[in-house]
Symmetry: C2
Subunit: 120 residues, 2 copies
């Protein structure tokens, strides 16, 4: 019994969230994970593969910064492609969310186009 529909929902939206955060200011994985953990319940084990993917896709680039207390941090910065991806995915999210809302809100038998006959 899956039950966790939001586990599935997260997929596809996490990248968007990370892009959004990085667009505001550079950040490092551990920090981003903590942030999104509060916001939408992302687990820490999720962020590292994600960041790697984003780097592979050329959406972010990295630089190391020594930390006062703890190991040095790998900061991520958006690239131009990253900024483009952010725009694209934001639009996609909006479209998608609107489509879902439309399905949920549809006031019963509104889309009736081809379905003139009710066999019952």
């Amino acid at each position: 019994m899956p039950e966790h529909i939001d586990t599935q929902l997260k997929k596809g939206v996490l990248t968007l969230c990370v892009l959004t955060l990085l667009n505001r200011r550079d950040g490092y994985a551990y920090d981003i994970a903590a942030d999104l953990s509060k916001a939408i319940g992302m687990g820490e084990g999720t962020i590292y593969p994600l960041m790697r993917r984003m780097q592979t896709d050329g959406l972010v680039e990295t630089y190391l910064v020594e930390s006062a207390a703890g190991p040095s941090r790998k900061y991520y910065r958006l690239t131009a492609a990253g900024r483009r991806a952010l725009e694209a995915q934001t639009a996609e999210w909006r479209t998608f969310a609107d489509a879902v809302e439309a399905v949920l809100a549809e006031p019963a038998a509104a889309t009736a186009e081809t379905k003139g006959e009710l066999t019952q």
Copy 2:
């Protein structure tokens, strides 16, 4: 290159959409698929495993209806558990969508709580 973030987004929301449609009126898989294909781009190959899962989970029950033209249709009807799931998942979706919107809308450096120091 994945690119299709909405493929991922769909996961978790499709069940909700199907529950919503069935709550309005009983339907059969082929029809629901066509509906949601227009709405959020669901593929036909997706609906059958989904319906089976929902039946296994006791969210729907089925009955056969002869069709005027074509093979007989397996109609799905929501069970009480299905109606409960609908409510629960609607709430989950709302929560999730709001959380995402919050991340997207966050007006830069608002969540600053523990992050007093900028090492740069």
